[in-house]
Amino acid sequence: MAFKLTELPKKDLPITSGHRVCAGCPEPMIIKQAILASKDPVVVGEATGCFEVSSCLFPYTSWNVNWYHNAFENAAAITSGMEAAYKALSKRGKVTEPINFIAFAGDGGTYDIGFQALSGAMERGHRMLYICMDNQAYMNTGIQRSGATPLGAWTTTCHVGKVQPGNVRASLRKDIVSIMAAHDIAYAAQASLSHWNDFMRKVEKALTYDGPSFITVLAPCPRGWRFPASETVSIAKLAVETGFWPLYEVDNGQWNVTFKPRELKPLEDFLKTQGRYAHLFKSEEGMQVIEHIKELLKYKLNYINHMADATKGCEMNIFGRCALPDID
């Protein structure tokens, strides 16, 4: 179902203004888009990170919905505990209203330190949606490299120096959506806040499943990526249009490309907007890195397209679709 932009502002917002994120921060946008896409009330579990420290500075809070923060690496675990409590208290008739559980975490809390807790929560089958606000580095601590930091990018722990051309790594980045899809969960997707309708539709779809789901959303960070605060959404859009951040989903076993640009824009159009890639344009070696990134992106796009073809018509019949056999 498509969401109407004219209707959304009429809804109760899950967060108020007055939080303390940087100018141009995409995270409040992502959180509003995600929670507004839920038909039922949402309870949030959040990892330590930018939005956590900015949204709930004692004695103030920006959250209009129930919100819980515990630590950096355990957003998935705490949310799985909240969901278990919901199940237990439903059984005893102590809660009756439907609730959707959404965990929010950054890429550090998802790809790296929270990876194990995320994997565990996903395979156990909790009815929860995990959303990674993917700004591709540890922004809250000061722009350090994470497992999501792409090849060639500058961070404060993969500097550009005389012998190091920014981030050196095995691949373009860790393919978190494929890893989550490999848990055979009902729904995993990649989204961008620039394509808000696509993202909200993904959230809506994820929440229809009686099981775990995962979405990673590109979250361009003006401070960390080095671009003007006014450019957040347009840079997110360029990431999609250049093929840097393809929009796709793995829906109940079926891979779908959810937005296909008619023609991909040159990757340089995206890279040039950000200071984190500026060094690549200044040397022959840097230009070679850009070519390498292009090859890796091409490989990934082919991979996604191939998976879409290969899984056409697939339906895993997992959560919500198949009943347990009667063991009595």
């Binding site: 004692f58 515990n70 705490i78 505990g81 208290l89």
Partner: protein, 395 residues
Amino acid sequence: MARKNVGLTGDYAVAEAMRQIDPDVVAVYPITPQTLIVEKFGEFVADGIVHTEFVPVESEHSALSACCGSVAAGARTMTCTSSQGLALMHEILYIAAGNRHPIVMIDVNRALSAPINIHGDHSDTMGSRDAGWIHLYCFNGQEAYDSTIIATRIAENSKVYLPVIVGLDAFNISHNTERIELLDDNEVKDFVGEFNPPYSLLDLKYPVSVGAYCLPDYYIEARKNLQETIQNAKKVIVEIHEEYNKKFGRNIPAIMETYKMEDAEYAILAMSSITGVAMLAADELRSKGIKVGVIRLRLFRPFPAEELYGAISNLKGLAVVERADAYGGASAPIFSELSGACANKKKMPLMANYIIGLGGRDVKIKDMTNIFENLMVNVDKGEIKDLRQYIGVKG
């Protein structure tokens, strides 16, 4: 149903208590020698005997994290662990206490690596002693059973509302079969009552934000509040023990048990199962006319400074016998605590610290009589030369 006497290991006795409490959520990760609890309780879950949502997580870190989420969502929540598992939970222990989450955790006290060792000592919980949890240590399987029930009431008491660790010794208690008197299921149900949390993440009418970021303008107030709360919890801990003892004809000390201390000149202070050995040693020396006694400390957090001082102030000598050490520290944890607690007291016995039974090394009556004798010799000389001694070490 009525009360019944059964032969159970300490772990199974705890599992029976958990069955009777029927918590809403149990999130656990298996670790020897806690596994018998998890396995037995898992059977109750599989057979639908309990209503519990059982969350078999992928690590102890996630076990306690899931417990935090669960209890914040208004569910009665329990977990159990041991040794490395408790160490892996370390970060979240502080958060559970700081966020005031009344989780009950059974810890089967086991040695910490390295070298790796699965047997009993207190290094695990002593390593987590300052996290803000209430600590209760058990004498035997019966007390482990009773403590699990008592701890639920303590944790959830509105004046306390803090997490509680119940410690029972690895193998000596966890795996030894004893005669255990189980209460009637309804007696336990009535005693623990309903869990009535002051807020819940599932209460949509009154949204809450839990786990706020505190800058220097509030952090120290939050921590002082935690200190005052746990110190004040002692009164409630005593009251709940009294209520339990009276209702069920038990005699479980809330704070400590004293054995032949009335006229004692020398005493051993220890915790958990090894105090039984110390009591046998005291009997042996008493038969020779030597006035010795034993203090079994049950409540380690909040530390009962006044009560302990009252018990030791008339002694000539006190041996603090511990199954843990503080490496590089002046003395082992209980000795240090007690010294600090009595810092400004004028009338004090000479005190010596003995480390014993690390990594499950058997503690014999002879070891305890040796400690008494060593203490008496030193007191006679008027000086404790070796403040910390390891007992029963080869070579």
